[in-house]
């Protein structure tokens, strides 16, 4: 954990993937650092650390947020979902099945957790989004491999119930 010798710190309670934690964080510890470095949940990726690429997307109180750009302290008392928490009893979430399907051929995979969480935040709120709403939900997720058509296809398949 970062030492940050001149910065104040606090113990916060936070719920992550259904589990309650009490964690010691500094004032400038990001949520991404808390998840990855303290809780070992490295499924959430930090790529630009600038809020510009979406690889760090997690769900906070039902809303997709960029965890590299949100302070851990701001999430005190909140409920966080990460990619590690969306499968239940060993069974993949429909979005995970869709992204892993052959016709949706993912490539390097680094954008995928963030992409899935962005889509999940939309579908949890609105299981029947319009095409524009689906596009908008992943508009902040950069995929440099350029796999967008397949990511969109995966999300549409879930909307259509293909993986229920």
């Amino acid at each position: 954990m970062e030492t940050n010798t001149a910065v104040s710190s606090k113990v916060i309670t936070i719920r992550v993937n259904g589990q309650l934690y009490m964690q010691h964080v500094y004032a400038n510890t990001t949520l991404a650092e808390l998840l990855r470095d303290q809780l070992g949940l490295t499924g959430t990726k930090v790529s630009c650390n600038d809020g510009a690429c979406g690889a760090c997307t997690v769900i906070c109180d039902g809303e997709a947020i960029l965890s590299c750009h949100v302070l851990a302290i701001e999430c005190e008392g909140k409920t966080i979902e990460t990619i590690e928490g969306i499968s239940k009893n060993g069974e993949l979430h429909p979005l995970q099945k869709a992204f892993a399907a052959e016709e949706n051929w993912l490539q390097c995979g680094l954008c995928v957790p963030g992409m899935i969480m962005s889509a999940k935040a939309l579908l949890d709120r609105n299981p029947h989004p319009t095409e524009d709403e689906v596009l908008e939900s992943i508009s902040s997720n950069i995929c440099r491999c350029g796999n967008y058509r397949r990511h969109l296809n995966a999300i549409r398949q879930v909307v259509e119930g293909v993986y229920d």
């Binding site: 010798t5 470095d37 490295t42 892993a100 052959e102 390097c108 350029g146």
Partner: protein, 775 residues
């Protein structure tokens, strides 16, 4: 009943998908070890300077700072090493001269990044600022400052033909190189005299686009006593090792490459940063990590090369090209990371025109005091194809010929011969046909949609619409590789090869090949860890769209020998000829009487653990014959005359793919590469200040890749299986680079829409509006 497994050409899920969708795949980015330290780097604020002195006292006093390295610690003791096998010139981990704004000055090792950054601010450096050359033109001027004046810039590690000469004086920024600089075929001057039309223009490729890999160029060095293991986000396993072997001695550092979050060509070379972490791990006895910031990724970890290409082309009235002459300068930046080769590869775009009998080329890679460039998907030929494409199209325009006719007339066919720009001799093309362009043209309805040179497809006050196509030929495979393949009593197969997984799915593709040939389930085929300790040597890794061909050829050879040994053993045990036998899963049986058979486990009995075969592809690599592919893309695009934006309405892309292992993978690669290529033409540009050498837009907001909104809505593909190249396994050809290389076709579409020819790339809205306003 058909009992054979069928994988080739069928749709098979990726073998690594589950790890990636659950977030459980561990990239180098995710690696953490107990006691791990972080390294951060002090970088030069001058484009060219000597370092006179340091004061590290304040920085060292920060609690949590463990060590600070400068050239004083490493230059004399460890010297210089190549960044890739045969790489040139060599680099030092830390040097006493800086050659670009952002070049390495010092390395701080601390318990965390915040502490390291605090220390960076407290390091005091005295520089002797030197004059800088920030563009190709400045660097080749007579009074240009010499960027690599030291003797170690010439000579190659262990190459007796090019020994180091301490008295050699470097007088130019053109990289001295063993690669052929001057190529000359036929009689170019006579040919120009006979030409009916001559086109000459100088084209600048000015994009310098960074790769923007989502996973940075990270490395983690873990000391083990006898050696240091470096986990690295990389694509060329042994390519990177040569630097470590030279700095530290053979066997002192071994490399493991976990699944990589994007490389696109930027991760072939050992980086100096990832070498210093190995040194720190050795000296401090603790794991040390390099996790580059996103800004560092733009400044330091390579980008497309700038090029200045002057093409002169001579043709007859009917469009036959009889003379091609090019002087190609390539901007390496402050160091050479494979760029000499990129410069040569730029001329490879001339392989579109194999019918031209008179050719002359001069290949001149140049150092400048800017961020170093390197390999990027479409290595050199992407940049070079704009320049040549532009010359050919202008010729077609002058002669009022349909550009499609010109390419079909002059273009490549199997059996054609062409210059090999790396080796300097004439090579034969064993596959690769311009016919694929012609066939796709029919699918795109080119004849109906091309409105000629005089008018756009349509135009109104706001928008002009045009169509165009691009094509870009390149070799696929023909480089050495090696594998080890084993089968075990449990019915499984293990592939040991330097096949890093950078997103293309090559491990899945090669597993399919093995599974089908050995007639076992793909679930029983796996790769060993991609580690220099476990896989056989292959100098260049995932590069140049060659893995399927080169590793595939090795595997075919290994499979053939494994089957021979398996059936010979089976024949002995079952009392029949090996030719009478077949195998499915782990069961060897008589073809005529399948009940007579024996499982592999019992066949091996107590005397054999496995059948293991090592194989190379030497029969397919002679430097004289290469498989080629002809990727193409047809575009229809709108030019917004008010905003300067270019929007693609639809495109048809593809390549003469030969036999396709993974149809879905091929389409996915093509879509992704095309999107990158389109971005390089219309949106992406790295702005390097021409006075200070500073990268001005080094972040994802101002220089970002395409978003979901940038993806064209209407896309179509064509992957004709034309000839099956005998040099390739089953007729497979690699893919990876072909998808973005034909993007120069957007230039033709732009000309069709607006009547204007750009002479630089990219054409962002600013350049578009400037062109439209030109008289």
């Amino acid at each position: 009943m058909d009992y054979r497994y069928k994988y080739i050409g069928e749709r098979t899920p990726r073998k690594d998908a589950i790890g990636k969708v659950t977030g459980l795949t561990k990239y180098t980015l995710d690696m953490k070890f107990p006691g791990m330290l972080q390294m951060r780097f002090l970088r030069s604020k001058y484009p060219h300077a000597n370092i006179k002195s340091f004061d590290l006292s304040k920085a060292l006093a920060v609690p949590g700072v463990v060590k600070i390295y400068t050239y004083e610690d490493v230059l004399e003791k460890y010297g210089y090493a190549p960044t890739e096998p045969g790489g040139y010139p060599n680099v030092a981990m830390l040097d006493k001269r800086v050659r670009y704004t952002g070049d390495l000055v010092a390395a701080v090792v601390a318990i965390d990044n915040a502490t390291a950054e605090k220390a960076l601010d407290l390091i005091e450096v005295e520089y002797e600022v030197l004059p800088a050359a920030l563009t190709i033109d400045e660097a080749i001027a007579e009074d240009a400052p010499i960027i690599h004046p030291e003797w170690e810039t010439q000579g190659y590690d262990n190459d007796p033909a090019h020994p180091l000469d301490p008295d050699y004086v470097v007088t130019s920024n053109i990289i001295p190189t063993y690669m052929i600089v001057d190529h000359n075929v036929g009689d170019i001057d006579a040919a120009f005299k006979e030409a009916d039309v001559i086109v000459e223009n100088t084209f600048y490729y000015d994009g310098y686009q960074p790769h923007i890999c989502l996973e940075p160029h990270c490395g983690v060095a873990v000391p083990e006593g006898e050696r240091v293991i470096v986990y690295m986000s990389g694509q060329s396993l042994f390519g990177t090792k040569s630097a470590y072997d030279k700095f530290f001695g053979l066997g002192k550092v071994e490399i493991i490459m976990p699944p990589c979050g994007g490389a696109f060509g930027s991760k072939h070379d050992a980086t100096r940063e990832n070498c210093i972490i190995a040194l720190a791990a050795m000296e401090l006895g603790r794991p040390v990590a390099n996790m580059p910031t996103r800004e560092e990724e733009y400044i330091n970890y390579l980008h497309r090369c700038g090029m200045k290409s002057t093409w002169k082309l001579g043709a007859k009235k009917d469009g036959s090209i009889i003379a091609l002459d090019c002087i190609n300068y390539c901007d390496c930046g402050g160091y050479n990371y494979g760029v000499r080769c990129a410069c040569a590869q730029a001329i490879i775009s001339s392989e579109m025109i194999t019918k031209c009998p008179n050719q002359r080329y001069k290949i001149l890679p140049v150092f400048t005091n800017t961020s170093p460039g390197g390999a990027y998907r479409g290595y050199g030929f992407f940049e070079g194809s704009f320049a040549l494409g532009s010359a050919v199209l202008k010729m077609a325009e002058q002669l009022d010929l349909d550009p499609m006719e010109v390419f079909l007339k002059n273009g490549i066919e199997p059996g054609d011969e062409h210059l090999d720009f790396q080796l300097g001799h004439i090579k034969t093309v064993t596959s690769g046909s311009m016919k694929s362009l012609g066939d796709a043209g029919e699918k795109f309805h080119w004849n109906e949609r091309w409105t000629g040179w005089d008018k756009p497809v349509r135009e109104d006050e706001k928008t002009a619409t045009g169509v165009g196509f691009g094509v870009c030929v390149a070799p696929r495979g023909g480089m050495p590789a090696s594998v080890t393949l084993s089968i075990y009593g449990d019915g499984s197969a293990k592939i040991s090869a330097a096949v890093t997984e950078i997103g293309q799915g090559t491990q899945t593709a090669l597993s399919k090949l093995v599974a089908e040939e050995l007639n076992i389930s793909i679930d029983k085929v796996d790769f060993s860890e991609i580690s220099t300790r476990s896989v056989p040597y292959t100098p260049v890794g995932q590069a140049e769209s060659r893995s399927i061909v080169d590793f595939g050829n090795c595997l075919m050879k290994a499979i053939s020998e494994i089957k021979r040994q398996l059936f010979e053993l089976g024949g002995q045990v079952l009392g029949c000829s090996p030719d009478d036998l077949d195998s499915i899963d782990d069961y060897v049986f008589m073809k005529e009487n399948p009940e007579v058979g024996i499982p592999w486990l019992y066949l091996f009995g107590f005397t054999k653990c496995a059948i293991t075969v090592a194989a190379d592809n030497v029969e397919h690599v002679d430097g004289l014959k290469y498989p080629h592919a002809v990727p193409f893309t047809f575009f229809e695009l709108d030019v917004d005359k008010e905003t300067g934006e270019i929007r693609i309405n639809d495109y048809l892309g593809g390549v003469d793919a030969g036999k396709i292992i993974n149809p879905t993978a091929l389409t996915a690669m093509y879509e992704g590469g095309s999107l990158q290529g389109q971005g390089f033409v219309t949106r992406e540009k790295l702005y390097i200040d021409k006075k200070t050498g500073k990268v001005l837009n080094g972040n994802m907001i101002f220089c970002g890749g395409a978003t979901v909104y940038d993806h064209p809505e209407k896309v179509e593909f064509s992957f004709p299986e034309l000839e099956l190249d005998p040099l390739t396994p089953h007729g497979f050809k690699g893919e990876g680079e072909g998808s973005n290389s034909p993007s120069w076709g957007m230039m033709l579409a732009f000309r069709n829409a607006t009547g204007k020819w750009p002479d630089t790339m990219p054409i962002t809205p600013k350049e578009v509006l400037d062109l439209l306003r030109e008289e």
